[in-house]
Homo-oligomer: 367 residues x 2
């Protein structure tokens, strides 16, 4: 590889293993995997999912649905509260013959949707089991019933099921906490399902989030899972003990442009326009923006001890390191940074380079 500027390197083997792992887990637990494509946003990586047997996907925006529809996907869930202002784009997708599922969080948007829809869509009601971002509280079965009633009354809408993204798993201290959040959420959503059995006998339950989908083994009651981040994983997942570092499938190659041994720092070309501003804290509560690896024949090394990306501005990254490590890295070297948050990093870098030097596209590149 001839790297001259910040470049997102993708280890295809690790990525395909991650896909395979989640497909096998879903099959083993008897749930359908409807993977979320917001992390990779790539039609080519989408093909690796097709090869693994996936035919229905989740996205987080209408734009992303348009992109994957263009590349032939025929079963797409837009897992973001329905924005009726985008109805023209939604109708366009329907006209392309896509089986479209939308997420609804209020009766009001159902009414607006019915008025302007030029085809038939399936509706998932998003419910909230305690994350407090979007969705109707699972306790509020009356509101959910009312919405199911509106859907059942419309010949443009089919009620598909309940969608729950327990994203509070990202704020946990252990994988046991993640399992507990899921157990609670499943209990609540299944209870809600039971309360709807008279008006929605065949409804499906879909649960999201990579932490839960990776570590939870008891998925009784759930029909579908929709994780996204697992395709690459990242340091957030690694620090949550959800993945091992060798499952992280992306690293940003960054040229070293300056050395300051007197203050134990190196400067790389790699900043907020490559990594966003997500961060984690090390054992001493020091903020950091990435871990360092060294590229080698087969990909990259384990994470180096004694060096971290400790500060970023728009294009600059500052690495703070021990004297021993500083001595091994020179201006002009290209080092690897494992990202804190792979979704945002991929969204910023807009294309992937595999270990053999092939380029793989990303939605944001020219769509």
């Amino acid at each position: 590889m001839n790297i001259t500027r910040p470049t997102l390197i993708l280890d295809e083997g690790k990525c395909r293993n991650n896909i395979q792992y989640m497909c096998e887990k879903a099959a083993r637990l008897g749930v359908d995997l409807i993977p979320h494509f917001k992390t990779h946003q790539s039609e080519e990586i989408g093909k690796w999912f097709i090869e693994a047997g996936v035919d229905a996907i989740t996205v987080s925006s209408v734009k992303m649905a348009q992109y994957f529809a263009k590349y032939g996907w025929k079963d797409i869930t837009i897992a973001f509260p329905l924005n009726v202002l985008e109805i023209d784009s939604i109708n366009e997708i329907l006209h392309e013959g896509v089986r479209l599922k939308v997420l609804v969080v209020s009766a009001e948007s159902i009414r607006l949707l019915i008025n302007s829809l030029e085809g038939k869509v399936e509706v998932l009601i998003e419910v909230d089991a305690g994350y407090n971002r979007t969705g109707i509280a699972t306790e509020n079965s009356t509101e959910v019933r009312d919405i199911v009633g509106l859907i059942n009354d419309s010949d443009k809408l089919d009620f598909y099921g309940l969608y729950c993204h327990p994203g509070n798993t990202y704020q946990t201290a252990s994988t046991d906490d993640i399992k507990q959040i899921w157990a609670d959420a499943i209990l609540k959503v299944v209870e809600l399902k039971d309360q709807l059995s008279d008006i929605a006998p065949g409804l499906k339950i879909r649960m999201g989030d990579t932490p839960g989908c990776t570590v939870v083994e008891d998925m009784a009651g759930i029909d579908e899972i929709g994780p996204g981040n697992f395709v690459f994983y990242d340091l957030v997942m690694n620090y949550l003990d959800v993945c091992n570092e060798d499952q992280i499938a992306v690293a940003v190659a960054c040229p070293v442009v300056a050395k300051y041994p007197n203050r134990n720092q190196l400067i790389i070309h790699g900043g907020a326009v490559h990594f966003s501003k997500d961060h984690l804290y090390d054992g001493d509560e020091n903020k950091f923006f990435g871990e360092v690896v060294i590229f080698n024949e087969g990909g990259w090394s384990p994470i180096l001890d004694g060096i971290k990306l400790t500060s970023i501005s728009q294009e600059h990254g500052i690495l703070t390191a021990t004297t021993e490590i500083i001595e091994t890295i020179e201006t002009g070297d290209v080092i690897g940074i494992l990202p804190i948050h792979s979704c945002l990093t991929a969204n910023l870098l807009k294309s992937y380079t595999t270990l053999d030097g092939s380029e793989i596209s990303h939605l944001e590149k020219g769509f």
Copy 2:
């Protein structure tokens, strides 16, 4: 305007006023304005600078230099430590007849540069007056002298001057602190210049950063300034008291997609893929990711009291607001968010829509 999804709105009048203000200030203080184009990254906004009399610019990457060279700019400073791995692109820019200035922070990169350069470049030595990011410490005059010597010995290089970006102005508590940082930095850089007078009699001093360039009135000793953010300003600048909120020239139009009056929250389509993850803290030390304005005939309202963007994930934004404000905003409304950091927001949204609905391009869109 027909806004259906997150869209970066540009108030051309405010932007042109910001450009005019900085041009007039530079003229009044007798310094040359070499504006930094990393904030807007737009050839069309570049033309507004031409109309204001600017003919030399600063950029923060070789990619950005290639972009502006393509659109006819002939005097470009790449204000990022020279990355010799990008020499092929640098040579291409030279072959297009650009008067190129590069930033150097070590003798080593001078040697590498001389070996592979296919034309003539001017060199600025970056010096560090206390910010501790990049550059040679101003106290280290011996190292600077050595580099000037190497430059003077090469027929491919011309020594242009000293570049100092006192970015620690971003961490100040008052505009007096900003002025003090600049006064200290000017003193140090001018002293260094005096020490080089025998080998570099005509060297120029360029200082960067929008906070300093906006508030400092005493620029004696400086030849050039290179601020960037001032073209739009943002909440960081507003919270530093560097600009008034009515000088902020960009706002992101975001559709409201859900309301949760019971917890005083609204959900917008507008998240980390639109705003990055920069944040500020309010008077009670609560983190927030943007302020809210309402679009109107002439642009947008003053910042609303009692509502802030308090949390963001990839596509979702959570607004926390008083009951009174919640009652005035409905699902399907489009509200405005003033960004914390306009450079990163523009880099993510990749195009501008002016108040009359025209689209203005950004480098990241298809370059």
